[in-house]
């Protein structure tokens, strides 16, 4: 069930209404049932996976808490890691691994044919396995007491607003909220609805519209000139931002309507003036997950310089792999690691030579954006050869604004639609910083400034400009 579907439009108000009508002790069970229903709407069998993951981690945490014997605790931890990463390995990485092993076998003339599995990737598996892993690791390290209620823990794993694409929540934040009796607070509900509408606007008006041009150009990349590829790549950067941050806004808003606060996931990432800042603003819940559960345990920056840089490289390569079983994602991750390492190593020299003036800040912003854009090519392209072809075109013909190249821009979308897309992009770029500020106000119990005018306007814009093809959110595939 997609957030941008008619089913969700019916499902969500029903769940919320019943939630507030039910006595406090029944609410967790109601939300759990609703969450399983939400997940089963994709495929009934998927629910068994999430139940399995829930049961294993609930039980493992109990067993770990029952003993002080460290080797035993570690064995329980390995069981949890094995089960969750095993699920990911089977459903997400088995074929990738098999295909690459097959290549190695073929190169060495080893006569072996590895099987190919036709598993359908369970939606959101990367998100909820990381969420349960965080719980187990927190319990193992003594940062968290194990949850005694299976229902509460099951809801933590499957809470429908953030189940399929995050934000990846920490048990220490979310589980205590399930024990609170949430009141029917009109101000808070209005705030939640406002954030949902803003998220829908980003998804339907920007992401899905731009996705049409991106799909056309990347789908016919050999027929596209440099300018068309640049425009499509810029559109993709906006598409993925609006798609994913739009999803996060809907998730956070939906949870807020019921009284739950989820963590922020985005904060104007394309305004970042360094790679480090970009990652503090982009997919924050995943970045902090990798920081807390991979980077720091590896030693973080409290190790020798070579090891530190290796830690960064490893974390970003894993982050790339988390996104998908494809070398393109790994290269995307490694590319970001390289960018980050270069910026960290050169930061002082850069500052000493160029200073800290406004012009330098602008240059920093431009360079960060440029490299982020170029790396998105790996994320969007189907394979490595396509990525390299597009990158070559982008870098070799960036100023090839001949009449033919100009005409080529319109080969992928009618001129009127493309002009309208550009107008909407411009309007979005101008409005996003202000609206992001309004979203931040919601955390302190306030609502959008000029909300009675702004939010209905957003609704009207959605209705007129929205792309209502029920396009799935990009991050669902991860």
């Amino acid at each position: 069930m997609l957030f941008n579907s008619a089913e969700f439009l019916l499902f969500f108000p029903l769940v919320v209404a019943a939630y507030f009508l039910l006595p406090a002790r029944g609410r967790v069970y109601w939300l759990l049932a609703a969450s399983y229903y939400f997940y089963a709407a994709w495929k009934l069998e998927y629910v068994l996976l999430i139940m399995g993951s829930t049961l294993v981690d609930f039980w493992v945490a109990q067993r770990m808490a029952a003993t002080d014997h460290q080797p035993t605790r570690r064995r329980w931890l390995y069981l949890s890691l094995g089960f969750n990463l095993g699920l990911l390995a089977i459903f997400k990485y088995a074929n990738f691994l098999g295909e690459n092993l097959q290549l190695v076998f073929d190169n060495f003339n080893i006569m072996a044919e590895l099987p190919h599995w036709d598993f359908l990737l369970p939606v959101g598996i990367s998100f909820y396995t990381f969420q349960t892993l965080a719980y187990t690791l927190d319990v193992y390290h003594g940062r968290l007491q194990p949850e005694r209620s299976l229902a509460h823990f099951a809801l933590y794993v499957s809470f429908f607003p953030q189940l399929v694409a995050g934000p990846i929540e920490r048990a220490g934040r979310l589980l205590p909220q399930f024990r609170q009796k949430m009141s029917f607070d009109a101000q808070r509900i209005i705030g939640g609805v406002q954030q949902i509408i803003w998220g829908l606007c980003k998804k339907l008006v920007i992401a899905d519209r731009l996705g049409v041009y991106v799909g056309q150009v990347y789908g016919n990349y050999e027929a596209a000139d440099g300018p068309a590829l640049w425009l499509a790549t810029i559109f993709f950067a906006l598409q993925i931002y609006c798609d994913f941050s739009g999803y996060s806004d809907i998730a956070i808003g939906a949870a807020r309507v019921m009284g739950f606060e989820l963590m922020d996931n985005f904060h104007l990432p394309y305004l970042a003036r360094s790679p480090r800042e970009f990652w503090a603003r982009w997919h924050i819940s995943l970045s902090t997950w990798f920081r807390d559960y991979v980077y720091i345990p590896l030693g973080g920056n409290r190790v020798k310089r070579g090891r530190w840089l290796l830690n960064i490289l490893l974390v970003f390569a894993l982050s790339g792999l988390w996104h998908g079983a494809n070398w393109n994602f790994v290269i995307w991750g490694v590319g970001h690691a390289t960018l980050l390492i270069a910026s960290l190593l050169l930061a002082k020299t850069w500052q000493r030579v160029l200073g800290q003036g406004r012009g330098v800040k602008l240059l920093n912003w431009f360079l960060t954006l440029l490299f982020v854009l170029l790396l998105w090519v790996f994320f969007r392209a189907e394979n490595l050869s396509q990525s390299l072809h597009i990158l070559t075109e982008l870098l070799s013909t960036p100023f090839n604004w001949t009449a033919a190249a100009w005409q080529n821009l319109f080969n992928f979308r009618e001129a009127g639609r493309l002009y309208l897309d550009l107008f909407l992009v411009l309007a979005f770029i101008l409005a996003d910083p202000w609206l992001d500020g309004q979203v931040k106000r919601l955390r302190s119990g306030e609502s959008f400034r000029y909300g009675p005018l702004i939010v209905p306007t957003l609704l009207a814009i959605i209705l007129i400009f929205g792309y209502f093809g029920e396009v799935a959110f990009i991050y669902f595939q991860f």
Binding site: A6, F184, A186, Q187, I189, I190, E414, A415, G416, R417, Y419, L420, P452, L453, V455, P456, T457, L459, A460, I461, L463, I464, F465, G466, F468
Partner: protein
């Protein structure tokens, strides 16, 4: 709760005002040669074309021997002039990508016992697949009467229907933005009488249950009104027959059996040649239409007299 309701009502009022104001502006602003509103969506069609011409010519009060319904196979495949040679006055209410949902709504509005002796429905696989959005976009702008247009928009049950409805209201006074010379009369549109580039059959979406439901509703509606319904499958090129027959038969024939209805099946009955009697991948040219219509008339004349 009172605050929530108050805010909700204010929000709806403001959203409605902004929506109509913005929509109006977009109908006035020209972008790439037409009002900007048409670039906002793939399903906002300007008023005009053969659908406009057809429904302008059609007189619901007039007596017809038969109304013909269906998709492009209907309005390009049943020539009222050939029917007239056999003494039958028919009007072709087929329209682009018409699905069973729209067919049902059109029959409900226009097939009245006082004016219609019988109805011919051209059944074609494409009338049963897809969501019918294209036809709703077409008919919602070109039907002169509000009632059937609104009924189709409601039955479509899609949020984009709101924009189609608004466009209809704002463009009500405007004349057609274009007309087609291919339109003959009585709803019929000619096909170029030459064989074009043959395209192979492209697999489409599967048959939709809700469209089958409308087939049943149509049968029931016309039976209730006492209007005979002739279900006809017009001729198809050989590759289409091979590709579409099994799925169509599996979905449709049990329904017809349930209602004791027969299908007048011309899919393979006539000795038509793919290159000589079709002008594109699956539409009959005028030579094909003549052969088909004459064969059909031969088949249905006894039923009409009866």
């Amino acid at each position: 709760m009172a605050k929530l309701i108050k805010n909700g009502l204010i929000g709806i009022a403001v959203a409605t005002t902004v929506y109509f104001a913005l929509f109006f502006v977009l109908t006035q602003v020209q972008l790439s040669g037409k009002p900007a509103i048409y670039w906002t969506s793939d399903v906002l069609f300007p008023k005009g074309g053969h659908a406009y011409q057809r429904f302008q010519e059609f007189d619901p009060q007039r007596q017809y021997d038969a109304l013909i319904l269906g998709s492009s196979h209907a309005y390009r495949g049943y020539d009222p002039r050939i029917f007239a040679e056999a003494g039958l006055e028919v009007f072709n209410l087929g329209s682009s990508s018409q699905t069973l949902m729209q067919t049902y709504q059109l029959a409900k509005a226009y097939a009245q016992p006082s004016t219609t002796s019988f109805v011919i429905l051209d059944l074609y696989e494409a009338a049963l697949i897809g969501d019918g959005m294209e036809s709703t976009a077409d008919l919602s702008q070109n039907l002169p009467e509000d009632a059937p247009a609104n009924a189709i928009l409601c039955a479509q049950a899609d949020i984009r229907g709101i924009n189609m409805w608004t466009l209809r209201q704002l463009m009500r006074a405007d004349s057609a933005s274009y007309l087609t010379s291919a339109y003959v009369r009585q709803g019929y549109v000619t096909s170029a009488d030459s064989v074009g580039q043959r395209a192979p059959y492209v697999e489409k979406a599967s048959i939709q249950d809700f469209q089958l439901h409308y087939l049943e509703e149509l049968i029931i509606l016309l039976r209730t009104r006492g209007i005979p319904l002739m279900l006809v499958y017009s001729p198809l090129p050989s590759d289409y027959v091979a590709a579409t027959v099994p799925a169509f038969d599996e979905a449709v024939l049990p329904i017809l059996e349930r209602y004791d209805h027969t299908l007048i099946d011309f899919r393979t009955r006539l000795p038509l040649k793919d290159e000589a009697h079709f002008y594109d991948a699956h539409h009959l040219n005028q030579a094909g239409v003549r052969l088909f219509n004459e064969a059909l008339l031969e088949r249905i004349q006894p039923l009409v007299i009866e």
